[in-house]
Structure formats: C-alpha cells, structure tokens
Symmetry: C2
Subunit: 265 residues, 2 copies
C-alpha cells in the first residue's frame, strides 16, 4: 500500500526540500497534469485529492490555493483538452483543400489527441461531475466539435470529394471511432499515437470518399479536388517531441485563456 511511487523528480516542482519557488502557473499546470493522469487511471470518483497532493509532495489544502474544488480541477483538465481541439479545428479550417482533405486533416489531429491525457479527458470524463455552469460550457463546446466534422463532410459532398451521405450520421460514426481511441489506446503498445491517427484517417474516410485511397488494388487517379491534399508536410519528422509538445501547449493554455484563476479571495 505504501509503495510510495515518488514522482520522478523532473515531474513535481515541489521537491521535498529544495528551492520550491516556481511560478504559480507552473504549479497550477503540475496539479492538472497529475490530476488528469490520476483521474484517467482511477476514475474521477476513485481518485482523491489527497492522492493528487501526495504525488506532488504537498497536502490537500494546498490545492485550494489554485482551485476552488475538485470539480473545478476536472473542468480545467477538460478545458485544456478542449483548447487543443479548438486549435486543431482552427488550423484545419484555415487550410485550403477539398472537404475530404480537411476532414482527413482533422481526423489525424483529433485522433492523435485522443492518445494523450488531455485529449482523453474530453471523452472519458462525465459531464455530470461538473458544476451547472461548466457543464453548459462543455456541452456547447461539444456541439462545436461536432459541427466541424459535419461541416467538412457537407463541404466535401458539395465539392464532390465526398459521396452524398447523411452528414450527421457520418459525423457520429467518425467521431465515435475517434473518441473510442481515448478508451483503448495505451502508450507503449504496438503502434504510436500518430500511426493510429494516420491509419484511422484513411480507414474512416474510405467509405465516403469518392476516390480510392489505398495502395491496394486500384491505383486511384487523383481527382481535381484532391490536388491540395498533402503538401510534403514535415515528411518523417524527428518524431516524439511529445514531452515538449505537452509543456508548450500547457504553458500557452495557462498563460492566456479565460479560465478561472483560483483563490480570488
């Protein structure tokens, strides 16, 4: 029971006896990183604030310097994930290309998000554990995400890159597959998050695309609408800049955003 599990010293800014003066936001983030991991591992109700605090080498009441309560921590975790999704959507919407092309871009990004903690929090946390106000915010955001998928599909139908279909149901089907990734994906498995993401981008659009995509049998003559589909991208990028990615995005998120400050006494 008391096996400790002292977090690797690079994780917690509260080193037992050491310069414990870090920027406030860094600590806030550290709390959220620990909380989201614990919530995912043990479930929101299974995880206790005492345990969150213990993993950070502090005690429970100290958490209340940064958050009003457990449900606010949950919300903030979700919120970071949501900002990441919003970024995906914004980037994708800003790009040029067919509806299908945009849809695939979004799928890749969204799928990879689902393999990370903050992404998982979008689909594994229960809305009912949030306060009334926050729940409404989340619901609105969810509709926003759904709309993005539908819009790209509808757009694809219009420009001919997507077969005529019910955009609503197609979006549900695609989003369902993607969201489910957040339930089964475990880092350290056979495939990396990105590999899964790219595979899903093909698989999930194969049914509704007007053109074949695979290097299987037919050799798919690329149609006009597809020309802007895949700019060289970053080829085979160094891969696994993940930790840096995390801190970067988390820092940005904590920096701006309208999320509550905690301790506004």
């Amino acid at each position: 029971m008391d096996d400790g599990h002292i977090p690797s010293s690079s994780q917690s800014p509260w080193l037992p006896f050491e310069s414990r003066r870090r920027a406030r936001d860094e600590k806030r983030e550290a709390v959220l990183r620990t909380a989201v991991a614990l919530f995912l591992e043990q479930g929101y109700h299974g995880a206790t604030l005492n345990e969150v605090a213990r993993q950070l080498n502090i005690t429970k009441p100290a958490l209340y310097n940064y958050f009003r309560g457990k449900d606010e921590i949950l919300y903030e975790c979700w919120s970071i994930g949501n900002e990441l999704v919003d970024d995906c959507i914004a980037e994708t919407s800003a790009s040029t290309g067919s509806g299908l092309s945009k849809l695939r871009k979004l799928i890749v990004r969204y799928a990879e998000l689902m393999t990370e903690d903050y992404g998982k929090s979008l689909v594994r946390f229960d809305l009912r554990d949030l306060s009334e106000d926050n729940r409404k915010i989340v619901q609105t955001a969810k509709r926003h995400i759904d709309r993005a998928f539908r819009d790209y599909i509808a757009q694809g139908v219009e420009d001919g890159s997507v077969k005529p279909c019910d955009a609503k149901l197609a979006a549900f089907a695609i989003a369902g597959s993607l969201n489910w990734i957040g339930h089964w994906f475990q880092p350290g498995g056979e495939m990396t998050g990105r590999a899964v993401a790219e595979e899903f981008a093909i698989r999930l659009t194969e049914g509704i695309a007007t053109t074949a995509t695979r290097k299987t049998a037919q050799k798919a003559a690329v149609p006009a609408a597809e020309k802007a589909d895949k700019p060289p991208r970053n080829g085979n990028a160094p891969r696994e800049d993940e930790s840096e990615h995390h801190t970067r995005t988390a820092a940005r998120a904590a920096g701006q955003s309208k999320r509550a400050r905690g301790r506004l006494r």
Copy 2:
C-alpha cells in the same frame, strides 16, 4: 426536490398497497431495470440506492434481499447486456454467408443493442466500480466481443468479401462507432434504434467491402459470396415490440444464468 416522479404503475411490482406477491425474479429484474436506467441517467456515483428503492416503492435495505451491494447491481446490469451481446454473436456465428455478411449482421444487432439501456450499460459503466472478480469477468467478455468482430473481418478478407486490412484496427474503428451510439442515442429522436443500426451497418462496412453497397451511383453487381446476405428478414415488421422484447429477454436472463442469487445467508 420532492417532485415525486412515481413510476408509472405498470413498472413496479411493489404497488403501494396492493397484492405485492410477485415472483422473486420479477422483483430482481424490476430492481435492475430501475437501476440501469438511473445509473445511465445520473451516473453510477450520482445515483443512490435510496433513489433506486424509492422509485420502486420500497426502502433501501429491501434491495439487500436481492443483491449483496451496489456494485453487484452494477455488475448484474452489465451482465444482462452481455448476455444479449452473446446472443447476437451466437446467432451471427451460426448463420451462413460471407465474412462481410456476418460482420454486417453483427453490426446491425449490436448497434440496436446500443440504443437500449442494457446495451448502453456495456459501454457507459466504469470497470473500476466493479469488484476485482467481476472486473476480470467483464474484461474477458470484452475480449470475446472484440474477437468476434476481428474474426468476421479476417474471415471476410479470406473469402474475398472484405478488402485486405488490419483486422485489429478495423475492428476497433467499427466497434468504436458502435459503442459511441450508446453515448449519444436518445430514444425519441429523429431516428429509431433500428434505423440507426441499419444505416451504420452500411456506413461502417462501406470502406472495407470489396463491393459497393449503396443505391447511389454504381449498381453493385452482387457477388457470389453475398447471395445469402439478406433473406427477406421480417420486411417491415410491426415495429416497436420493444417493451415485450425487454421483458422477454430479461426474463430469460434471470431464469438461467449463473449470476449470484443474492442473500445466500
């Protein structure tokens, strides 16, 4: 707060003052029906046994005549859902036809299950709320379901009805879409459960099928392997034999099965 919400008298065998001698199993089932609905509506942790009991016109301790505790009720709800899935798989496996044909059959049945309470319980309940033993049982059962999907896909690849693909990922993608139905579907919406199910069966297999399915552009010449695909079925059956369906299946489930008896004092 005290708005009552007395369940329609056709729901509870414990009518306030009336012949309250029903068979034990009927009562057990009534508990489960009420519990599963409440767990889905409020979440397992949000729902209290007091509330379950109240909706049945009894008091909390009376529940312990039938179940050892809250987590066992959760397990039993899940268990009924699992038996329904097992039936789907058994029926499907017993049928003849191509791998694709079986896959579609399973998808239709599974999807429709996801629109019902006991089906939803398979994907919305948290394994971590179960006892150690029950959790293992559930995990094993989940693997069994996953295997069914994979097997049909692999079989389809072999008999040529399905394009070569990674059966594992394809199964995840399909199951993900289906499981997600259990999160968004609400009876009373635009589509019936069956309509959604049939739409999904097409949509989810369109990408991996070797032949087109839709009455869209191409007129899909049905290949040899597909001949046994759709027997007339029951055409447009009277539809909505749901309540009867529920009681029937629930009765069977309570009748046989090795599930614990409750109060084995």
